[in-house]
């Protein structure tokens, strides 16, 4: 039950993008088209899930026993970076078309603050290994959801009659704000 709560909380109620405002850069940068948004979301979900598990192992078997929690930031960053490298190499070998379509997004994920934020939250809230796994998965699903919703709206926006002063970035930011407001409606659903 707790696992389901952690998953739902990360995916919807405490959505990393829309309620913690993490990962805004890819959220605005890669949400122009639906298909790229889906690809970016899936790649991020994959890395998030792996990162959540591996950083949990590092945190609980190295950092906490040696009383080094102040090294969390640095350790998590290098973990995520090496993980992305590994994933990139693996995809390049196993599926060149996927590599070519994801090519630009993978290095972007290295510096995605949503992933670092996720791993730090996980350490802060002292989740168990299974909870961490679902927290990572939920965070990724939430990120994908935000990206896909945003991309869908921006594609519709192409045909809308936007006032000249608001065209481009201003309108995008307004929409992002409204989407975040809408997600606040989930706040009463559960509190984890």
């Amino acid at each position: 039950m707790n696992v389901v709560l952690v998953f739902l909380s990360a995916a919807i109620v405490n959505n990393l993008v829309l309620s913690y405002f993490l990962g805004i850069c890819p959220f605005l940068g890669v949400s122009r088209r639906l298909d790229t948004a889906v690809n970016m979301g899936l790649a991020t979900t994959f890395v998030m899930t792996l990162a959540a598990v591996i950083t949990w192992l590092i945190n609980n078997y190295i950092l906490i026993p040696f009383d080094l929690p102040f090294l969390q930031n640095v350790t998590f960053i290098i973990t995520i970076a090496s993980l992305v490298q590994l994933v990139e190499m693996f995809i390049r070998k196993s599926s060149p078309p996927l590599y070519r379509s994801l090519g630009i997004y993978l290095p972007l994920i290295t510096t995605n603050c949503a992933i670092l934020g996720l791993t730090l939250f996980e350490a802060l809230r002292e989740y168990s290994l299974i909870e961490s796994l679902f927290f990572g998965l939920g965070g990724g699903v939430g990120f994908t959801l935000a990206l896909v919703l945003m991309a869908g709206m921006r594609e519709e926006l192409e045909f809308a009659d936007v006032p000249k002063a608001l065209q481009g970035a201003p309108m995008t930011l307004l929409i992002a704000g409204m989407l975040a407001l809408a997600f606040m409606g989930f706040a009463g659903l559960l509190s984890v």
Binding site: I58, I62, L63, F66, D67, L68, F70, L71, V74, T75, I78, T79, S82, Q85, L86, M89, F90, R92, K93, P96, R100, F159
Partner: protein, 283 residues
């Protein structure tokens, strides 16, 4: 020295070494052997991923070139220059490159064609075509420039008469505009073709003439004037040039009442001057 300091250095160093070890191992295991020739080919190719070669993009084309599944002259936008460079790179014989050029087969601009409606929708030919367009002629150019948008080489522009113009020195023959035109008015032709019927209207003479001053009215004069029988035929109220038979000269064009069949006209064309000068003659 402080114990925490030593432990943290050891922990970070240890983690770094472990990660490095895994990455080195992965690099050895998962290294993708890419043919160095592919990189060199990619330097030569235009890298616009236009798809004129019929492949998924420049990268796929380069890979197929290495395995000899395509020939060096298959890159249409590259033309002779790229073909020769590729032949040199791969050590094969040079071959002649084929470079067809886009021809817009409608001359019914804002001045020549009658309007039948006012269109206020999306400024794109595909959208306008769904509603039938705003001109009386349902075969002619819609004039919203989808072809110009599709051209990645700046080889097309809309002139002040609302018609697209192809710049022949810039056209690389990728046929992106052919795909973009919802009314199939653009065709690819080799440079030897110079005689064109600039109309696609299948309406009967009187209807076509009423809708557009430069429409083909199927009067059959060009069919009779062509020196070779069957060189030009009239099918469905429209003159069609048979390029395998018809000699490329201006004989069939001389008696055309609407001046919709023309010889060597595209070369004379410039963006601004062409239509205004031709209009004076026609009116």
């Amino acid at each position: 020295m402080d114990a925490t300091f030593i432990i943290s250095v050891a922990a970070m160093g240890g983690l770094g070494i472990i990660f490095a070890f895994f990455l080195v191992l992965a690099d050895k295991k998962l290294r993708v052997e890419e043919d160095p020739v592919v990189e060199k080919i990619l330097d030569v190719l235009p890298m616009t991923n236009c798809g004129a070669c019929g492949r998924g993009g420049c990268h796929v084309f380069a890979e197929m070139l290495v395995t000899k599944q395509v020939t060096v002259n298959a890159c249409v936008p590259g033309g002779q220059e790229v073909s020769d460079k590729l032949a040199e790179l791969l050590g094969v014989e040079k071959v002649d490159a084929q470079r067809p050029i886009a021809v817009v087969l409608c001359r019914g601009g804002n001045v020549e064609a009658q309007k039948s409606a006012i269109y206020r929708g999306e400024k794109s030919c595909i959208a306008a075509d769904l509603l039938g367009g705003d001109k009386s002629c349902v075969y002619g150019c819609l004039g919203y420039g989808d072809c110009v948008q599709a051209c990645k080489f700046d080889a097309m522009a809309m002139n002040d008469n609302g018609l697209p113009v192809v710049f022949y020195d810039k056209c690389v023959g990728c046929a992106a505009c052919v795909e973009a035109c919802p009314r199939d008015l653009i065709e690819m032709h080799p440079p030897e073709h110079k005689l064109f019927v600039y109309c696609k209207s299948l309406d009967k003479g009187a209807v076509a003439k009423k809708a557009c001053k430069v429409a083909c009215i199927a009067c059959k004069l060009c069919e009779k004037d062509c020196e070779v029988t069957g060189g030009i035929t009239i099918e469905d109220n429209l003159a069609i040039v048979n390029y395998e038979l018809c000699p490329q000269d201006d004989v069939p064009t001389k008696r055309c009442p609407t001046k919709c069949i023309l010889y060597g006209e595209d070369e004379k064309m410039t963006r601004d001057s062409f239509y205004s000068s031709r209009l004076k003659k026609a009116v």
